[in-house]
Symmetry: C2
Amino acid sequence: MTLRFALLAALHEEPATGYDLNRRFRDRLGHVWNASHQQIYRELARMLDEALVAVQPVPQADRPDRKVYRVTQGGKRALQAWLTEGHPRPAIRDPFLVKLFAGELLNDADLERDLAELEAHYRERLRTYRSLERRWFPDERNLSRHYRLQYMALRRGILTAESWLQWAAEMRERMLLSARGASKGNG
Amino acid sequence: MTLRFALLAALHEEPATGYDLNRRFRDRLGHVWNASHQQIYRELARMLDEALVAVQPVPQADRPDRKVYRVTQGGKRALQAWLTEGHPRPAIRDPFLVKLFAGELLNDADLERDLAELEAHYRERLRTYRSLERRWFPDERNLSRHYRLQYMALRRGILTAESWLQWAAEMRERMLLSARGASKGNG
DNA sequence: CCTTACATGTAACAAGTTACATGATTAG
DNA sequence: CTAATCATGTAACTTGTTACATGTAAGG
């Protein structure tokens, strides 16, 4: 059910089409929530049905009409009610960690490749987060509560990426013995 | 599909019943993978169908028979093949972070309560992980590769918990201004 | 009396993924 | 020619959750 409230929160900030929401999730909310466009369109249809959102069609030449969604009073109430509820922490389901339990079936070459991919992934994430930081929160000391909250979500993304990179370094030390630039002086 | 390989890896280490596997996931693998008993029984049935596992019934007085599953040759091959594949990092879907995007609709009291719950959760996780560390990896310097891999998975759990606690402290500093024991001498 | 551990499942539902469908415009 | 952006969806499938079902024995 959280997708629904993620959409309501996004639309509460600013009305948007399904397409816009998809881009927002992909470009600026990847560290908070993920959803495909199919999921978004389906959930918007349901929410429209339950009158949590309303739609304003905007005709366009040569393209499908844009359907701009906004949160209704009922939607706002639903979101507010949800905010007062507690929620369990998301369950951990990580294929990379599962592999570590295959013991001798997992060889060093595969482990090394997965680890390199993981490091590349989180380095890329870090770059994205740093760029979001510069674009949206340039004056870190002087943010409204609204932006301070969003900044803290981004901080979470940054800490997660850093924590994984730290772990990856530990892995190399303890499992692979070879540093990143393995060709030079590693006697 | 990862559940399947998590089960294969667990059964490869030691044959077990669905019930046993459920306990293993709950007690010792919560930082790696999560699954309910219904999911486990369903997946075991499928894997039996595809001959990735075999079953040995063990009759018991006054209880349902224990059905001890073990990995077959085909199952081992499937697991090995899976280990050579790359896998995308799991998508982030965190209701707590979604709440931060509700802006002024989220009040300090609710935020404070959620944050306290989050801290309690990860402090509890840390306690569990520390106890697993003592029980399974007492001599950290002297582990076989097999156990070193599992130890690194546990390290991941520990780093995750620590990272969230660090973030929670940042949250208090930046959003709530009140330290944990707010009643005593706080400016 | 009540809960927990033991031991297995079925059924219905919700959430997320993958494949398919349409069609114009712009950039390389 | 090819891919990406814009803009909407449907359909089928897989994965994960919740509710229900059965029955004994031990511990507080």
